[in-house]
């Protein structure tokens, strides 16, 4: 038990959050272990993205505690939150590239703001990171000229520009064709191998979850109702999880 606690990078206890009358989390507990790729699955609108925003301190919980490396981030000042976020990279659902900047400037922005590197060194890192996601020679183009899959890859290059300890993926394959979705899944695996990062992927794409996850957790009605390896998930007889992975309308989960 003690050893497991040492391996925990993020620990969430009793997390509660409501938006108006809509309760998103109800005393949610979750541990993220160093070096693993944790996939959080759940229906659209069940609060998966909101969970990522709590882990990064973009949203504050109504109740409960979230610790990163043993420190409670819900009590962090803005300055401390910014320091913590230097260890995080995040790939947003919509890629969230700055459309007024070129691709190169997008990837370079964190380095320009937070490192002492010269322009030449920054350009080198930018092309390295773009190469890592399989893109070359796109530095001077604007995000508007890119396809959805390319935007995701650029977003990923920007997320790992500062060599973060932890990368968070918000619906990385949503809206992509199956081939591009597989390219992104492969990339998540590659980044995990090459950069040895801890990853959290939230998705409702069960195929992607099996492909990238070391562990899969299911978020349902404000709680984590199941957590296990992809193999355990495949064999589970939990009725809620079964209904979700088999994608059936009939079952304990009622269509809204």
């Amino acid at each position: 038990m003690e050893q497991r606690a040492n391996g925990t990078i993020v620990r969430i206890r009793g997390l509660g959050k409501s938006f108006g009358r809509h309760r998103v989390f109800d005393s949610l507990d979750l541990d993220i272990v160093r070096g693993e790729t944790l996939v959080v699955i759940g229906r659209s609108g069940c609060g998966k993205s909101v969970l990522l925003k709590h882990i990064t301190g973009l949203l504050k919980p109504d109740a409960g505690e979230i610790t990163f490396e043993g420190e409670d981030i819900t009590r962090f000042t803005r300055k401390k939150l910014y320091q913590m976020r230097l260890h995080f990279g995040m790939l947003f659902q919509s890629s969230a590239l700055f459309d007024s900047m070129t691709v190169g400037e997008n990837v370079a922005l964190p380095l320009r703001k937070h490192s002492e590197m010269s322009d030449g060194e920054i350009a080198k890192v930018v092309s390295e990171k773009l190469e890592l996601v399989g893109l070359t020679g796109v530095q001077n183009q604007y995000p508007a000229e890119m396809s959805g899959g390319m935007k995701k890859r650029i977003g990923l290059a920007r997320a790992v520009a500062m060599n973060p300890q932890m990368v968070l993926y918000d619906e990385p394959t949503t809206g992509l064709d199956p081939i591009m979705a597989d390219v992104i899944n492969e990339l998540i695996r590659t980044l995990q191998r090459e950069l040895a990062v801890t990853s959290v992927v939230v998705t409702h794409d069960i195929k992607s979850a099996y492909h990238v996850g070391d562990r899969i957790a299911m978020l349902h009605e404000g709680k984590i109702i199941y957590s296990g390896t992809p193999e355990e998930v495949r064999r589970t007889d939990d009725p809620v999880l079964r209904q979700f992975i088999e994608g059936k309308a009939q079952g304990p989960i009622k269509p809204i």
């Binding site: 973009l58 995040m90 947003f92 700055f98 922005l109 964190p110 703001k113």
Partner: protein, 263 residues
Amino acid sequence: MAPFVILGRFFLEFIQDTGGVFLLMGRTFQTLPRTFANARSTLQQMDRIGIGSIPLVLVTSIFVGAVTSVQAAYQFHGYVPLQYLGTVVGKSVTLELGPVLTALVVGGRVSASIAAELGTMKVTEQIDAMEMIAIDPVEYLVLPRVLASTIMLPVLTILSDLLAILGGMVVANISLHVSFNTFESGLKLLFHTQDLVGGLMKTFVFGFIIALMGCYHGFETRGGAEGVGIATMKAVVSSCLLILVSNYLLASIIFRIIFAPSS
């Protein structure tokens, strides 16, 4: 019940917005020491907000001056000699029309554009992305816009004052047959520097309000395209209303306390 619910909701929203605006204002003041680090984007915004508004200010001011001249002459008819036309045009333009009309037209243009830009960034998660790479959106987006607008509105008002007086003068000459010399002597007759200064003092506050409202409603944008539309509308309405209300308060402070008549 329904009217009370609507009234209550409106009241709560008003309190929430007021609190939010003051919080953003406080956060903006906190980032002031970072002004020089953001000098480049402040200059870019000064160009967009200030130089970009010149054509609008030009047309508005010339016609405002012209109409003031024509309508003042109409009211003078039979009571006041037209040699005082310059006096009235000069006073009304520098004290009220120049500052307030410039603020209203520039406010519409600038607060809408800021709210739409920041609102779109908000709904496409670009603001969150900025937070995630540890860049403070208030320092990076709000500070340059607020500074640029606060600096450029007085500059635009000086231009507006000049153009409006010029417009009034030309119309007086062409259609009312008041010579340039007569108009000019009327202008100088009761001219006090404090009229001009007092009018300009108001515009610093107006410039601040315009950018702050644009930024606040941009950051508060919810949803997609419709949300951006609503935020833009709220930014324009709130900046125009606040300009008109603060104009009264500022006039009371400036002309009844700071420049109070000595007698």
